[in-house]
């Protein structure tokens, strides 16, 4: 039950107010990077490699340069003169901006064509002749580790294999001992497929270098504008572009989902060309370039094992991961976490023994992997534990709901320390699953399933009860390139009581303009509609590390609450002065301070703010502004209980999701309408890899589904009717008790769907199918089991 402390007029937390930003979006008045048109602007297009692995013998741009309107063709050799042909990745690896001699994946940037208009640039791209000497690529990550595999990163001195790093956490020996003596052990090999975020807006930028003032304005589709400014200064500082000379503006963004965190070569080339020509340069990817070249997500091969007692008590888990990173580790994780927060994979269950290890390899595929609507590899971890939990329940002959209930961490045991070192802040897993089972009518469904099985019909019920880990993160552990992962808010209240609030985060559709305003309205009593939220301009916004990993509410949302509380403290002082009483005699209710016992003696927040500019107390600083940089003491741990029901056609193996109930616990809710919208979108993006999406490469490194004709993104047509609900377990350490919700559904949905499908097929002895689970995959699996013939 959501209770609101503020009136509907103030519109603080809990009110389902409509999103302020939608007024412009639904009228087509959003301003995206491609809407930016500057005088004299040049356009860039990129020549890409048809090969997954090849030597570049020669690039002949002469025909392209003859085309009227073509200004230049830039190659790696050109960039090499400025030492801009390589750049660092966020994971301390290196990535080519443009190659000087070797291409490492199909669709890699090879040269850039600059022209006076976009069409000429595209035509001229076709006229650039590149001579390649193709080489046999390394595509399979397991083969990449074999001793005779060719070493791909010959640019790295002394590199003798394709291994990138090894990571481990937990107690190996203790885990092995538990596994040796356990009653029951289950093991599954899983591939969490390589997928793409497919944001509706592709990536792009307008780099505008002003030679006279030695100043760069970079309009860019980035989720983290401040971090980008610092990165540009680090990469291009030697050219005189120091940080005060750089302004990054992230305009409206049409979806990011982690794909707009990395720095792509196109951005750097555009900056270099603008720097050299002194003219603005626009680069906008097309749909296929976005899908084929930009950072992928996932691509974890996981061997997952669970040990339990015969009575159904989980004793330990063990995960071994092979991570395919493509030709460079361009993941976007916090520096100290090469596997991100994968170690959350011990799940929602109470046991104290676990061991996880991961090895990363180079292959001839695009680099990545980004945290696609996920706090850095949480989706992979949750899929592994939730699939494994079902396998164990099946091995024990227990109902998967009963098995979960038996093993959940109890509400009273929080804060709970996980065997991989996390301290879960709060949760009530039993309540969540109980609610989901009631809403969907679990017991009736199991009875129906038993009836259908007798008739030979395929019906499955799948559960996923996940624990998320979001809000990176506390400065003791979390940084990106050394910068701590705090986030910030600056509030300025104008004399008439209206405010502007600026943040270090950047909405890509999350609804910050509404939800941040509601947080401030909650704390200050200024109506949310009078609070303008602004993000994305590094010249005006306070420093912050941006929006991804569901971190905006846990970090910047907290900063907003704390900054607003600083202002409320000041308001109390001013009110005391105006009412001629002492501060202790004042009582706050949203929107005003009144004298205890004399509620008619009151000053509204608007009166108080006006006084801050017109009649401020002697000795007090005038004005009404506050800033806060919030460094979270811990991460937040949202959770959810999802139940999915599927029916599978026995002839065609078409999978129909009959029902899907999602009960989320994201702590206190800022705006239930925004949360519901986030959950709907996230569930659909969870359905995507469960049944449709996977980037497929053949043995030559050709991408076989590099267009949206072949890469299946589910739409409303494929989506079932999502039934959503919530339980509320506030975060004890977050100023407003919120936890973040953006990624929970993307993380929680795939195992619920996979578990339902496997449950339906378990009558044939199937215990696991890799996602995406398609009718064809079911056909193949049943053929392999001998259930059906060719």
């Amino acid at each position: 039950m959501i209770t609101c402390k503020t009136s509907r007029e103030i519109g603080g937390m809990g009110h389902p107010i409509k999103r302020k930003e939608d007024i412009r979006f639904i009228q087509g008045k959003g301003r995206y990077v491609d809407d930016i048109k500057l005088p004299g602007m040049l356009h860039m297009d990129i020549v890409r490699s048809p090969y997954a692995y090849a030597r570049i013998k020669h690039i002949d741009a002469s025909e392209a340069l003859k085309i009227p309107g073509v200004v230049a063709v830039v190659t790696g050799k050109d960039l090499e003169k400025y030492n801009l042909h390589w750049m660092p990745t966020l994971m301390s690896d290196t990535q080519m901006v443009l190659p000087t001699d070797t291409v490492m994946y199909q669709a890699q940037e090879v040269a850039a064509v600059i022209a006076t208009d976009r069409y000429t640039a595209r035509d001229a791209k076709e006229a650039v002749r590149v001579e390649y000497e193709p080489m046999k690529p390394v595509v399979d990550p397991y083969k990449a580790l074999e001793p005779d595999a060719p070493v791909l990163r010959t640019d790295k001195e002394g590199k003798t294999d394709n291994h990138i790093w090894h990571w481990e956490v937990g107690d190996r020996e203790k885990t092995e001992a538990v596994f040796r003596s356990a009653d029951v052990v289950v093991k599954e090999h899983m591939h969490i497929p390589r997928i793409h975020v497919v944001s509706i807006e592709t990536c792009g930028c307008v780099a505008d270098y002003d030679k006279v003032n030695n100043h760069l304005t970079m309009y860019m589709t980035t989720q983290a504008p401040h971090a980008i400014r610092t990165v540009i200064a680090l990469v291009a500082g030697h050219l005189g572009l120091t940080e005060e000379k750089i302004r990054v503006i992230s305009p409206d963004i049409g979806g990011g989902f982690g794909g707009k965190v990395p720095v792509y070569p196109g951005y750097v080339i555009a900056i270099a060309v603008s720097f050299l020509t002194g003219k603005p340069v626009k680069w906008i990817e097309d749909r296929s370039e976005n899908l084929q070249a930009d950072s992928f997500a996932r691509d974890y091969h996981i061997t997952a094992e669970m040990a339990a007692t015969r009575e159904g008590k989980i004793l330990a888990t063990r995960f071994k991961v092979l991570a395919d990173h493509g030709y460079t580790d361009a993941a976007a994780n916090p520096s100290k976490f090469p596997t991100g927060l994968f170690s959350i994979g011990t799940g929602s269950y109470d046991y104290d023994t676990a061991f996880m290890e991961a090895d990363a390899v180079y292959t001839n595929k695009p680099p990545g992997g980004v945290a696609y609507r996920c706090s850095f590899r949480v989706t992979e971890a949750v899929h592994a534990i939730e699939r494994l939990t079902d396998s164990m329940a099946r091995a024990l002959g227990m109902d998967p709901a009963e098995f979960r209930m038996k093993n959940f961490i109890k509400k009273e045991d929080f804060p709970w320390k996980s065997p991989t070192g996390w301290t879960y802040d709060s949760g009530d897993y039993h309540a969540g699953l109980k609610k989901a089972m009631e809403v969907i009518g679990y017991d009736d469904l199991r009875r129906e399933q038993a009836e259908k099985r007798k008739k030979g019909e395929l019906m499955g019920i799948g559960i996923s009860t996940f624990t998320e880990i979001v809000g990176a993160g506390p400065s003791r552990d979390f940084d990106i390139l050394g910068i701590k992962m705090f986030d910030s808010c600056e509030i300025r209240v104008h004399p008439t009581g209206k405010a502007i609030a600026r943040f270090g985060t950047k909405s890509q559709g999350q609804g910050h303009e509404t939800t941040y305003a509601q947080i401030i309205a909650e704390e200050l009593g200024i109506p949310a509609e009078h609070i303008q939220v602004e993000e994305g301009d590094t010249d005006t916004a306070p420093y912050g590390l941006g929006t991804y990993a569901s971190r905006s509410t846990p970090t910047a949302g907290a900063a907003a609450a704390v900054a607003a509380r600083k202002l409320r403290d000041k308001a109390r002082k001013i009110a005391a002065y105006l009412l001629e009483v002492s501060e202790e005699d004042l009582e706050w209710e949203p929107g005003k301070f009144y004298v205890k016992g004399a509620p008619e003696k009151a000053k509204t927040i608007q009166d108080i703010v006006f006084a801050a500019y017109t009649n401020h107390p002697p000795g007090m600083e005038a004005g009404f502004e506050a800033t806060h940089y919030y460094d979270p003491p811990n991460l937040t741990f949202p959770s959810g209980a999802y139940i999915c029901v599927v029916d599978i056609d026995k002839e065609t193996f078409e999978i129909k999701i009959r029902r899907f109930v999602a009960i989320d616990d994201c702590g206190n809710i800022i705006n239930p309408m925004v949360v519901q919208g986030q959950v709907h979108g996230g569930l659909t993006q969870g359905l995507a890899p469960a049944m449709y999406e996977e980037l497929i490469y053949d043995e030559d490194g050709n991408i076989l589904n590099g267009t949206l004709m072949d890469y299946l993104v589910p739409t409303a047509v494929e989506s079932p009717r999502w039934e959503t609900g919530h339980t509320i377990t506030p975060s004890p350490h977050h100023p407003i008790g919120a936890k973040g919700v953006g990624e929970s559904p993307t993380v929680g949905a795939p195992p619920a769907i996979a578990n339902a499908i496997v449950d339906a097929l378990s009558v044939y002895g199937i215990t696991h199918l890799d996602i995406p689970i398609t009718p064809y995959k079911i056909y193949e699996a049943l053929k392999a089991k001998g259930v059906i013939e060719d």
Binding site: Y51, E126, P134, D700
Partner: protein, 179 residues
């Protein structure tokens, strides 16, 4: 992307006549849709070009053909073609094993082609490559028969015609009545 195309067809011509045409690249290539010989280097090496248009993708492969084996007595022919797209969009490689046998007074031609395509065409046409190959093959067979009987040869391979024919065959197949 790799695919193997096998086919057997019958020609009502004596085996020696068929062999003479089939084993001479200068002759046989005129029947291959979109292909031409640009230069004869020696008796077993030729330079040639293949232009293929499929939808928005046009590939112009320039390459070499090498006759690896040509056995007139066994009527066996093995040749290999390697082509690079002129614009650097990809590479195609093909090894063909051909064999002729006398049958019912005519000749039975059977062959297997192992084709490997890397690059943009592989990307775009992965699902249709077999249909396109089938179509090109049919066109080749009809050209070859026509050539031997002194008829007209059509070796254009344009996007429109391939796409339309493939579509017609695919869609037609869906509605074709059994038997």
């Amino acid at each position: 992307m790799q695919t193997t195309i096998s086919n057997t067809f019958f020609i009502e011509e004596p085996i020696d006549k068929v062999w003479a045409s089939l084993s001479d690249p200068m002759e046989v290539v005129t029947c291959v849709p979109g292909a031409s010989i640009t230069e004869k280097i020696d008796d077993t090496h030729y330079k040639g070009a293949v232009t293929l248009k499929f939808g928005p993708v046009k590939a112009e492969y320039a390459g070499e053909i090498e006759i690896l084996e040509s056995d007139p007595s066994a009527h066996r022919l093995v040749l290999k073609g390697v082509g690079l797209d002129a614009k650097g969009k990809g590479q195609a490689e093909m090894t063909m094993n051909g064999h002729l046998a006398e049958k019912d007074g005519g000749t039975e031609v059977s062959f297997t082609m192992d084709v490997s395509i890397v690059g943009m065409l592989a990307q775009f046409g992965s699902r249709l490559i077999n249909d396109v190959s089938d179509h090109l093959l049919k066109q080749f067979v009809s050209n070859f028969k026509a050539k031997l009987s002194g008829g007209e040869v059509d070796n254009t391979a344009s996007a429109g015609s391939i796409a339309r024919s493939v579509l017609k065959e695919k869609v037609g197949g869906l509605f074709r009545k059994e038997g």
